[in-house]
Subunit: 428 residues, 2 copies
C-alpha cells in the first residue's frame, strides 16, 4: 500500500493544530513508519480566519464538519471538536455512513454513544479509534486492548484528570482553599467551559467507563459510574491526609466482582510514597491488572498539545498500517451488559467531622459507628478554640453499605455541625 | 476471517507452558478478541516425556523445531527456546522460508541477527514480533513502535534485568556482599546457565539494542552497546549511595546525539525517590521520551511465566487481527546504520577509592582530577582503622572522556590501593 492515507480534520484547537503540525513536520518519518504517506485533504473549524500558528496551505476548508466527513478525498475523519452530541456526533455518524474510519479524542461522545457508534462502525466495516480520549500521550487504550489482549483483566485504575490533580497538588503545596485554587485554574484557562466536567469527576468518569468497556468486554456504561468530585475536599483534609502518610487523588477504579462491575471515580487517600501518591500536577497514571501480566503501571502527560496529538497520530498510523480492531477490542455484538455493583470492595475510610463540644458527643459518634458495623482503627480529637471540635477517624476495612449506614446514623445524632466528610482509602 | 490461527510452539519451558495454558483456558475470550480462534497444531521441546503441569493433548509433537516450523498446519511459529544461534535461529529461518510469521521471546537472537532476519521476513512478506523479548509483561515494544509512532524519539531508558535488580536490592536490604547474594540467586534458580548474561549486563544490553533500533529507526547494533555489569558493585557503594539519597540500578540508556547513537547499559546512581529508584526486586521499568508525547513511564513484571506469556499472546493476537508491521517498525531497508557515540551526554559521577594513608595523598587525588578537567562537587574521607582510607567523591557534571582521563591519572598516582570505582549518576 503506497497510496496516501488522507485525513479530514474537524476542530483546530490545541490538539488539531498539534496534529497538523506533526504531519507537516514529519512527512518522511511518518511515511516510513506508516508504510505510506499521511496527508491532510481538508480541515474544518468554527473560525476560518484565525492565526493558529500553523499553515493550512494546501488543505481544503469546510465550514461544516459533516460536509468534511463526507468528502471523497477523505479516508479518515479526525474528530477533535469535542462535545458528546451536536456537530461531533453528527459528523462522526456522517463519516461512518460514508465509509470513513474515525479517529477521535472525544471521551464524552464515546462514553455516552460509544456502543451505538461502535455498532454502526462495524456494520460499515469501519473502525473508531480513541487513544487520545484517555490519558493524553499515554498509549493506555493500546496497552489494554492489544498489549493485554491475552489477559482476563481484573482491575483498571487511574488518575486521569490533570485539572483535578493540579488543583489538589496546588492546594497542598500552597496551603490554599479549594475555591481559591479553582479561581486560579480558571484564570489560567485550565478549566472546561463547564468546569463541573473536570472538578465533578465527569470527564475522568467518561474515561474510566471507556477503559472498563475495553477491559471487561462490556457495553460502555457511563451512567453506572459512581461519581464524586473534588469540590468537597478541604485544605484540612489534604493536611490531615499528609500527616497520616497519604495524599488525596481523584482516582478511578473499575473492577469486575462476583456482584457485578464496580466503577467509581472519587477522591481517595493513597499512600504518599506510592506511584499514584507521587503524581504531581497534570501528570496522569493508569494501572492495569491482568491475570497473566500482573500489574502494569503507565505514567505520562495526560493532556496538552503534543501528548494528545501523539495519541491521535498513533491511531492514524495504525489505520495506515492496516491494523483494524473493533472499537472496544471485540465485536460490539459480543459486548455484554454489565450488572452495575456499587462499591463492593471493602476499604478503610477517612472521616472528618465537626463535633459539638458537649459531654458524651464523642461517645455518641463511636456508638453509631459500632452499631453500623464500622470499627475504628484510629480516632483523634483536636485541640480547638471554636465551638466545634474537629474529629478525625480512620476506620478499619468496611463495606460502602455499612459506611453509608454509619454516615446516615451520624447525621441523625444531632451532635455534628455538618455532614461528615468521608474519603475512601486505597492502598495502591 | 474466521479460520483459526494455528500455532507451532517450540520450547516448553516456563514461558511455553504459560502460553499453552492461556490458550487452553481462554478459548472464548481469545477468539472474541482476536476475531478468530487461536489454536495450537504442534509443539516441540527437548524432552517429550516430562510432566509440565499442562496438557499437550491434541497437539502433534515434533522432536525437531525446524520440522515444526515447516509444518503445513502451522501459521505462526512461536520460538521460545532461546539462544542467539543454533536451533532457535535455524527454526526461525526455516519458518520464514516456509512463509510463516514468527513470534519470539529471544532477545539474544534478535539483538545479534535481527537485521538479517528482518530482511528475510520482509522478503517473504512475513512478520517477526518480539514483545516478550523485552521487559516481560510490559507492552513496551508496542508502546514505542505503535503508541509513539508519531514521535521523534529522543531517549529510551530502562531497568530491564530482573536478576540484577533483585541482586542489588537484596544486597541493600540484607547488607550482604555481592558474592553471597549471587550465590543465593544461583541456588534459587534465578540465574541463566551462563550468569554473565545477567550480571554482565549482556541480556539487558540485548534488550536496549532492540529498543534503540525501534526508537531511532536504526539497524540493531548490540556490539555498539557500552556494557558494564554489576559485579564490581560493593555493599559499601550501595550504602554510600543510599546516604547520598540514591540507589544503584543497572540502567540502560539509548539516545541519539549530534555525535551519533549513544547506547549504554551500566550501573547508575538514580535518585532514591524517583520511579526508577523505587523499583524493587524483579520489577522492570522503561522510560520512553518522544518530542510530542513527552516522557512515558511503564512499569511491570519483567519476567515470569504469566507476564512473558502475556506478551507472547499480545503478538499472536495482533497477527490474528491482521496487524502486521515491519519487524523494527519500518522497513528493514530504511533502517540506517547508526554512528556509535560513546557516553557523550555529560553526567556527574560517584567515585570511591581506597587511599594510602600518607601525607599529601588526598591532595594528589584532587590535583589529578582537576588536571583532567573533572571538578569536585563533594568529597569525604572516612575515619578508618585500616591502612587505607576510604574516600568518596561526587563530581560535577563531566564528560566520560574527561572522567576516563581522570581515572587513568588516578591509577598512576601510586596512592590508591585499587582502581577507583566510578558510577554514573543519572538524575532521572
Amino acid at each position: 500500500m503506497t497510496h496516501p492515507l488522507r485525513l479530514g480534520i474537524a476542530g483546530l484547537g490545541t490538539v488539531g493544530v498539534g496534529v497538523v503540525s506533526i504531519i507537516r513536520r514529519k512527512t518522511a518519518l511518518l511515511s516510513a513508519r506508516a508504510g505510506r504517506p499521511i496527508t491532510i485533504s481538508a480541515v474544518s473549524a468554527r473560525s476560518r480566519n484565525k492565526d493558529r500558528g500553523v499553515s493550512l496551505d494546501g488543505y481544503a476548508w469546510e465550514d461544516d464538519p459533516v460536509a468534511l466527513a463526507r468528502r471523497d478525498d477523505v479516508d479518515v475523519f479526525v474528530e477533535l471538536m469535542g462535545g458528546s452530541d451536536g456537530p461531533a456526533k453528527a459528523a462522526t455518524e456522517a463519516a461512518l455512513a460514508a465509509g470513513k474510519d474515525v479517529v477521535t479524542a472525544n471521551k464524552a461522545m464515546l462514553a455516552i454513544h460509544g456502543h451505538t457508534l461502535a455498532e454502526r462502525a462495524e456494520a460499515e466495516g469501519r473502525v473508531i479509534r480513541f487513544e487520545a480520549a484517555i490519558a493524553g500521550g499515554i498509549p493506555v487504550v493500546k496497552a489494554l486492548s492489544e498489549g493485554l489482549a491475552g489477559n482476563s483483566v481484573t482491575r483498571v485504575m487511574g488518575v486521569m484528570n490533570g485539572v483535578c490533580n493540579y488543583i489538589l497538588t496546588r492546594m497542598e503545596s500552597a496551603g490554599l482553599p479549594y475555591a481559591e485554587v479553582f479561581g486560579e485554574a480558571d484564570r489560567l484557562g485550565y478549566l472546561e467551559a463547564d468546569p463541573t466536567l473536570d472538578v465533578g469527576g465527569i470527564d475522568a468518569g467518561h474515561k474510566l467507563a471507556l477503559l472498563a468497556a475495553v477491559a471487561f468486554g462490556v457495553r460502555v456504561g457511563f451512567d453506572d459510574v459512581e461519581l464524586e468530585g473534588i469540590d468537597r475536599i478541604s485544605v484540612e483534609d489534604i493536611g490531615q491526609a499528609r500527616d497520616l502518610g497519604y495524599r488525596i487523588k481523584l482516582l478511578g477504579v473499575a473492577q469486575m466482582t462476583a456482584r457485578g462491575l464496580e466503577q467509581r471515580m472519587s477522591p481517595c487517600l493513597v499512600p504518599a510514597g506510592s506511584p499514584l501518591g507521587q503524581l504531581e500536577g497534570a501528570t496522569n497514571m493508569t494501572v492495569l491488572e491482568g491475570d497473566a501480566a500482573g500489574q502494569i503501571v503507565l505514567r505520562g502527560a495526560g493532556a496538552g498539545q503534543g501528548p494528545t496529538a501523539s495519541a491521535v497520530m498513533a491511531d492514524v498510523i495504525d489505520i495506515a498500517r492496516g491494523c483494524r480492531i473493533p472499537v472496544f477490542g471485540q465485536p460490539a455484538a459480543t459486548l455484554k451488559r454489565a450488572q452495575p455493583a456499587k462499591s463492593v470492595a471493602p476499604a478503610a475510610y477517612y472521616l472528618r467531622m465537626a463535633l459539638q463540644d458537649r459531654p458524651g458527643a464523642l461517645a455518641r459518634i463511636a456508638t453509631v459507628l459500632g452499631e453500623a458495623g464500622v470499627s475504628i482503627d484510629r480516632m483523634r480529637q483536636y485541640g480547638h478554640d471554636t465551638p466545634t471540635a474537629p474529629v478525625l477517624i480512620i476506620t478499619h476495612e468496611t463495606t460502602r453499605d455499612a459506611l453509608d449506614r454509619a454516615l446516615d446514623g451520624l447525621g441523625r445524632t444531632g451532635v455534628l455541625e455538618n455532614d461528615p466528610v468521608a474519603i475512601r482509602i486505597e492502598n495502591v
